[in-house]
Each structure stands twice: as structure tokens, then as C-alpha cells.
């Protein structure tokens, strides 16, 4: 690591990381581009991406226009085709890939082995990024995808400590992208069928997680808010408690060892690695990802602007100054999750 002295302060020189930002609609993509995203990630309006939510995502026409706009402004566009095509429906996923290639996306983000192979054969000149949905968390798993399909970048699961990420970086020959802000899923992505068990719609195959068409909010006269998914109550909030989505892994349940209902998996809170950015960069992370394609333009603008400033500050040798992003976090609580310490596990 090169160290130089600037204004009497030793400063580390990092490779400039890319800021990867969510785009759920054309308007939020333009917002992200304007706020300083180096790259945006997005998907089509169907099951081919893991945020297949009502009213969200891009028609082919919108995709083409949005990509042109982003490219004009020097922002890359990464197409998420990161679900697993169920047998018999593979064509829909191939079509998404072929359309993306036609529109000159800068990379495909995929998890499925069949799909990775399809891209490697049919679109070898377009970068392949391994989605977090592939759940590859060891040098061996990551090297498997790099060797077999020429993956250029891997998005790591949110279960690793920074020390482990650093260790992985030294054993793979590929770029590393990690999440730095947003929803903090607890289950290993790409290996969770909880939503399908409760609702009949699959996270892996349909791209949904707690689909809104099976969500019910029931408020009683004391203003206690019960959140329900399908036939099951996921949580209940007192009138003064902050609420969360009825995401199964963030619900409160009863178990024999506990006297009261407790967050059996995780509390409703959001990941915020604002304070760990220099450590991530030092560990060799070259792309910092903000979660939230399902969130509003307002969220995109605030979060992207804050992290743009923070990254630029670090690159200029200044302390990162993360404006408080806490109001945008779920349950108004934040965590550094597994990244800080393995005690989290």
C-alpha cells in the first residue's frame, strides 16, 4: 500500500471503487445517474429478475431508452437476470439476455448455471457478473464460476466479515462487489424458499419475496399493527413501534427457549456500511452496491448522493462523512451485519 503525506496526514491510496446503484423505474435510473452513480442495475418487468414487484422495472422500450440515457452520461448499466429459470420456461430468460445484449448493457448479473453458460456461449463479449443469488461464499465456489463461465465480477453474500473478504480477494482472480447499504436479508440468497412455502410464489423462480398481493396490514383500535403474509402473522407492532415489511426472516415468533415473541432470525433493520467503506476498499472491494430497486426516487437520490460524497471524500484523503441515512432504514435501525464481526452469526 502506498502511503503519502498530504497536509501532514498520512493518506492511503485506494483504487477508485464503482458505486453501483438501484434503478426500479426509468425515473429512478435517471435520478441515480444524476446523483453520481458509476453504474446502475435494473431488470425487466417479469420473473427474470429478483425484484419482480408490481409496478416496478422496465419494458424493453424503457430499457433501451434508459440505457442510452445512462451511457450518454457515462454511467454503466448492469442487467439483473438473476433468478433461476424453471424448466420449461427457459426461453423467457434467454429473451431477457438477448434483449440486454441488443441494447448494449455493460454486464449481465446472473445466478443460474444454465444461464451463465448460455451467456458464455452466445454473448462472450459482454461481461458476466455473478449475482449474490448464486450464494457463492468461498474462493472455491467463486473460482468455479470464474473458471467455467469467465465471470468478471462476483457479488458476495452479506454473510462475510471484511477479514474474510480480504482473504477471498487474495485467492480469486476476479473483481469483488459487496453490498454497503439497504435491506439486510438474513437467509443465504438464492437458497431461500420461505416465501414460496407461505405464498406459492418462489423467490428463485418468480423473483418475489413476500409478494404484496398476499400482504395484509391489520390495525386494531389501539393502533397495534399486525403484518400478515398469506395465512400467517409475521409481526405485530405496538402503536409507538416502528414497523417493518412482513418479510418472513424479519418477523417475530415464539420459540420454547424464549418467554416472549422475539426476532427469531433478525430484527427489521438495514445494512449501513458507511463507516466501513475504507476497510472494504482496502480489502480489495472494487464495487460498492446499494440495495433498493423497490424503493422510491427519493430514497435513491438521498442514498446515492450520500455515498457518492463519502466515496469521493475517501478518494481525496478526507474522512467519509455519511449524512444520517437512518431515516431511510427499515425499522429505523441499522447494522453492520456480518461485515464487522463473526459474532453476528
Amino acid at each position: 500500500m502506498v502511503t503519502l503525506v498530504k497536509e501532514n496526514k498520512p493518506t492511503k491510496i485506494y483504487q477508485r471503487p464503482e458505486l453501483i446503484c438501484p434503478a426500479g423505474t426509468p425515473a429512478s435510473m435517471r435520478t441515480a445517474v444524476e446523483a453520481g452513480a458509476d453504474a446502475v442495475y435494473c431488470g425487466f418487468q417479469n420473473a427474470t429478475n429478483a425484484r419482480n414487484f408490481p409496478g416496478l422495472n422496465f419494458t424493453p422500450d424503457e430499457m433501451q431508452k434508459s440505457i442510452t440515457h445512462a451511457h450518454k452520461n457515462g454511467t454503466k448499466v448492469l442487467l439483473a437476470v438473476n433468478t433461476n429459470p424453471p424448466a420449461g420456461k427457459f426461453q423467457l430468460w434467454k429473451d431477457a439476455i438477448d434483449l440486454g445484449a441488443k441494447f448494449a448493457v455493460d454486464a449481465f448479473i446472473v445466478a443460474d448455471i444454465g444461464l451463465a453458460n448460455y451467456i458464455a456461449i452466445n454473448h462472450p463479449n459482454i461481461r458476466l457478473h455473478l449475482s449474490v443469488q448464486a450464494a457463492a461464499s468461498t474462493p472455491e465456489a467463486l473460482n468455479y464460476y470464474c473458471q467455467q463461465f469467465g465471470v468478471k465480477r462476483v457479488v458476495l453474500p452479506r454473510i462475510l466479515t471484511i477479514a474474510e473478504i480480504k482473504d477471498i480477494k487474495q485467492q480469486i482472480n476476479c473483481e469483488i462487489e459487496t453490498f454497503i447499504f439497504g435491506n439486510h436479508g438474513l437467509m443465504v440468497e438464492g437458497r431461500c424458499s420461505l416465501t414460496n412455502y407461505i405464498t406459492g410464489l418462489s423467490t428463485n423462480m418468480d423473483g418475489v419475496c413476500s409478494p404484496a398481493n398476499q400482504v395484509n396490514y391489520v390495525q386494531d383500535e389501539q393502533q397495534n399493527l399486525s403484518t400478515q403474509l398469506g395465512d400467517f402473522t409475521i409481526d405485530c407492532f405496538g402503536r409507538n413501534e416502528n414497523a417493518g415489511y412482513p418479510t418472513i426472516c424479519k418477523g417475530r415468533y415464539h420459540a420454547a427457549p424464549r418467554d416472549e415473541g422475539y426476532y427469531a432470525f433478525e430484527e427489521p433493520l438495514s445494512l449501513n456500511l458507511g463507516n466501513l467503506l475504507p476497510d472494504l476498499m482496502e480489502a480489495g472491494v472494487c464495487a460498492l452496491k446499494i440495495e433498493g430497486r423497490q424503493r422510491s426516487r427519493s430514497y435513491v437520490k438521498k442514498v446515492v448522493t450520500s455515498f457518492r460524497t463519502a466515496v469521493d471524500n475517501i478518494m481525496n484523503g478526507n474522512e467519509p462523512d455519511i449524512a444520517s441515512l437512518i431515516a431511510l432504514t427499515e425499522g429505523h435501525k441499522q447494522t453492520e451485519g456480518a461485515f464487522k464481526s463473526k459474532k453476528w452469526r
Binding site: A87, R191, L194, Y197, F232, T233, I234, H254, A264
Partner: protein
């Protein structure tokens, strides 16, 4: 082709004695084709039974059963990685079921099986992995009938056998965090193996006291027991050849016998359900996934 029963790996943390007793009964008292051995959930548990696998495998083989070693489904730390490496470096006479891409790196190019955690959702993935040495695939539990049919058609053409779980709690999710430890206000590194207290998983109920899920360390399973008695014949017709019973602490010998009788059509699916319930299962049965419904549901089948 004729349908065959298999015994999946024991997902729960059972004591050494309980496991030895279980495999003794499986060897001596059941007519199952294949038995999968190995710790697939938590590498911390692996040390307890490591020294017994050879003996158990011998006993099973002598009783005419095929033995397959299943690898860890979540590979994270050095200990996990070493276990995967060691498993995949076993003699080529041993059959290996891979449950994670770490294993694929080691074993690609050699003959191997694909476990239910391998996300083989479609024909393209299946064909690719078969071209790299896979010869048998256990399909993900959440696959609906329509997809099983397509996969089975392709599998028949490329000469690979398929397997599906037909009995037991449904594996639903994995995490880096241990929820058994968390329930007991412990962490994974300091877990005191509290998971041993729950031989079929720890029940989670909703705040309004409805049975919901079952916790097994880092794994989350269904509360309801998958039971595809009604679907067995159809699965067989589609081209699935192996049917997995996931071990629980009910009477698994009887469970295997009943499913064998059902496969031979000596009893009806309805009779099978009644007899399996009598092996010590109070939980509802579920078959929703196969019918493309919520997995916890029980879809009445008129077969």
C-alpha cells in the same frame, strides 16, 4: 426402471448413539436402495460422527444398500472448506453428492451426484452439470410438477437419474447465522450444541400461536411434513426414479415399509397416509410445492 427409496442425510443434530441406532435399523430392517451419509448442515457437528461413517457404511453395504456421501450445503469458513476438500478427494469408489458450488470446483470432471441444494431448476443447468460429470440429480423441493416433467424428459435423453424428496420436513432456507444459538441467546461460535435438544427441529410459532416453521441450526425447515404419497405414482410416470425419505425421529422403518408397499401398489395412497401418521407424526402433511401452491398446503389429489 423401477422406483427406489432412498434415505436422505440426517439433517438434525442427533447424538452418536441415536444415529448408530438409526442406521442399524435402516440396514437391518428396511428395504431402501440408497442411504446418504454425512453432515450437510453444520460443520461444527461433523466431528462427533466422523469416526463412525466407515463402520456405518460397511454395515449398510453389507445389507445391500448403496452408500453415498453428501457434502455440506453451506460452505463458509476454513473448516467447512477443508471438509469439502477431503470429501471430494475420497477414493473414486465412493459416491459423492455435492450440495454447494465449492464442491463442484473439486469434483468437476469426475463422476458425482447433485444434491437438492444445488439449484438444478432447469434443463440447461442439468445438461451443463451432466457434461461435467454429474450422473444423478436430486431436484429442489420447490419445483412444480410442470418443471419436473420437463427435467425428467431431458434426464431420460441424456441418461441421468432423478430423485425427489417425498417425505419429511422441507428444507426452506440456509443462513450464516445459527438460529438455534440465537433462540438460546448464544452465538454460533459459542453455541453449546443446543440444537441437539430438538431432534426434529425447534418449532417456531407466530405471535398468534400458529405453528409456522422449524429451526435446525443455520437451517429453516417447514413445520408441516412433506408427504407425496398421492403424487408418487405420477412422479414415477414422469420419470423420477428415486424417492427420498428425510430422516426424522418417527418410526422410519415403518415409514420406509409403507412407501415401499405404496410403490408396489399393495396399498393405496390414502392407506399409506394413515399408516405413516401412525409412525408418530402429529404435524399436518403438505404437498403444495408439487402442485404449484404454497408449500405448506395440502392439495387433495383424486388419485
Amino acid at each position: 426402471m423401477s422406483a427406489k427409496l432412498t434415505i436422505g442425510p440426517i439433517l438434525f443434530h442427533w447424538s452418536v448413539d441415536k444415529k448408530l441406532d438409526f442406521y442399524k435399523k435402516i440396514a437391518d430392517e428396511t428395504d431402501v436402495h440408497t442411504v446418504y451419509l454425512g453432515e450437510v448442515i453444520c460443520s461444527k457437528r461433523a466431528v462427533f460422527f466422523d469416526q463412525h461413517y466407515e463402520g456405518v457404511a460397511d454395515k449398510l453395504k453389507r445389507a445391500g444398500k448403496k452408500v453415498v456421501y453428501s457434502t455440506l450445503s453451506e460452505v463458509l469458513i476454513k473448516r467447512d472448506r477443508k471438509i469439502i476438500h477431503d470429501f471430494c478427494s475420497m477414493s473414486e469408489d465412493e459416491e459423492i453428492e455435492v450440495n454447494d458450488a465449492s464442491g463442484l470446483l473439486h469434483i468437476s470432471g469426475q463422476a458425482h451426484r447433485l444434491g437438492p441444494m444445488m439449484n438444478v431448476y432447469n434443463e440447461e443447468t442439468l445438461k451443463y452439470l451432466v457434461s461435467k460429470g454429474a450422473y444423478h440429480a436430486s431436484l429442489p423441493c420447490e419445483l412444480p410438477r410442470q418443471s419436473v416433467e420437463v427435467l425428467a424428459g431431458v434426464a431420460a435423453k441424456i441418461g441421468v437419474s432423478l430423485e425427489m424428496q417425498i417425505f419429511g420436513r422441507i428444507p426452506l432456507a440456509l443462513s450464516a447465522r445459527c438460529y438455534h444459538a440465537r433462540a438460546h441467546k448464544l452465538s454460533k461460535d459459542n453455541c453449546r450444541f443446543v440444537c441437539e435438544q430438538d431432534s426434529d427441529g425447534m418449532l417456531l410459532k407466530t405471535l398468534d400461536n400458529k405453528e409456522f416453521l422449524a429451526i435446525n441450526g443455520i437451517q429453516t425447515l417447514s413445520y408441516n411434513f412433506m408427504n407425496l404419497a398421492h403424487e408418487l405414482q405420477e412422479l414415477e410416470q414422469l420419470g423420477v426414479e428415486y424417492f427420498r425419505l428425510s430422516p426424522h425421529s418417527n418410526d422410519m422403518v415403518t415409514t420406509a415399509r409403507v412407501f415401499n408397499q405404496l410403490m408396489k401398489q399393495e396399498i393405496t395412497a390414502q392407506e399409506a397416509l394413515v399408516q405413516i401418521r401412525d409412525t408418530g407424526i402429529d404435524e399436518p402433511f403438505a404437498n403444495g410445492f408439487f402442485h404449484q401452491k404454497a408449500g405448506h398446503q395440502w392439495v387433495i389429489n383424486r388419485n
